[in-house]
């Protein structure tokens, strides 16, 4: 249950390189099944447009999960995340083609706390939109 990143080797202000996560319609269908969230705005274009959306949109929790992946891949152990929160600031629109949409996530070590914990803030973009705001994780380093 130990992060592979060492607290002493991390500096406040350090950047965590961006990673791009592809999201296609099939990913949303799979996520709907695994999470139990079958809101049709996440898989039914006809329904999404009828309620005023531009197209099918990703579950906010799917985007949040990609941010979680970003943090746990950096930290090296999912058990190292002690707090994780986001605000959903914009939609990830997922067109019906082979490429879908891309969520680009980057991070900064915002703060080093006591007891070897750090605060990581995330930036998540899709197209021109910032899709998460106030996205931050507290991570227990070794």
């Amino acid at each position: 249950m130990a992060a592979t990143v060492k607290y002493d080797e991390v500096e406040a202000g350090q950047e965590i390189p961006a990673v791009e996560y592809q999201v296609r319609r099939v990913d949303l269908v799979r996520y709907a099944g695994a999470s139990g969230d079958f809101n049709p705005i996440h898989w039914n274009e006809r329904f999404a447009k009828a309620v005023g959306l531009p197209d099918v949109i990703a579950h906010g929790m799917y985007t949040m999960a990609q941010g979680g992946r970003f943090v746990t891949d950096w930290a090296g152990d999912p058990g190292a995340v002690v707090e994780y929160g986001v605000r959903f600031s914009s939609m990830v629109v997922v067109p019906d083609d082979d490429n879908g949409a891309v969520i680009r996530i980057s991070g900064i070590v915002e703060e080093k706390r006591e007891d070897k914990r750090v605060v990581v803030t995330l930036t998540a973009r899709s197209g021109d939109s910032r899709v998460l705001s106030k996205a931050r994780a507290v991570v227990q380093l070794s």
Binding site: G33, A34, V51, M64, A65, G68, R69
Partner: protein, 149 residues
């Protein structure tokens, strides 16, 4: 229609414990595209110091709101689901959730407020084992567009 603020402070418990299984953790991890062996392979999780495969950070969304469905659809509350979007989500973990956990949730309507034309409802869920060990707190803000008082 304004949300009924009499609901603030009410707590709803899950009706039955949620059993965390290896298969469900692996299915959820696959669905978020994460092949980390700590989610899929018990031996890899044990080698990393865990008792069994652990759940990804956002996994509690699968079960943490099971007890609140009836509350949110109570006509007395006045929530129009067709106008609801997810506003914020936060998790505070006491320890990683792992396969074999039997978890119960107590969800409280912590706050109802209006910002502009929208109504914001905050749900706090305390996730504990059936023996009473707190493992996670979740905070879920849902937004009802046009629902301000």
């Amino acid at each position: 229609m304004a949300l009924n603020r009499d609901f603030v402070g009410r707590t709803y418990a899950s009706s039955a414990p949620y059993e965390v299984s290896r298969v469900k953790i692996s299915e959820f991890a696959t669905a978020i595209g994460d092949s980390n062996p700590i989610y899929h392979d018990r031996q890899a999780a044990v080698a990393a110091g865990h008792p069994d495969v652990v759940a990804p950070p956002t996994f509690p969304i699968v079960f943490s709101l099971l007890g609140t469905g009836d509350a949110l659809s109570d006509p007395e509350l006045g929530l129009d689901f067709s106008m609801v979007v997810h506003g914020e989500q936060r998790f505070e973990y006491e320890r990683p959730i792992h396969a074999g956990d039997e978890l119960v949730c107590a969800s409280t309507i912590a706050e109802i407020r209006s910002v502009g034309r929208n109504a914001f409802l905050t749900l706090r869920s305390d996730v504990s084992t059936t023996s009473g060990e707190l493992v996670c707190r979740t905070y879920n803000v849902i937004v009802e567009r046009g629902g301000a008082a």
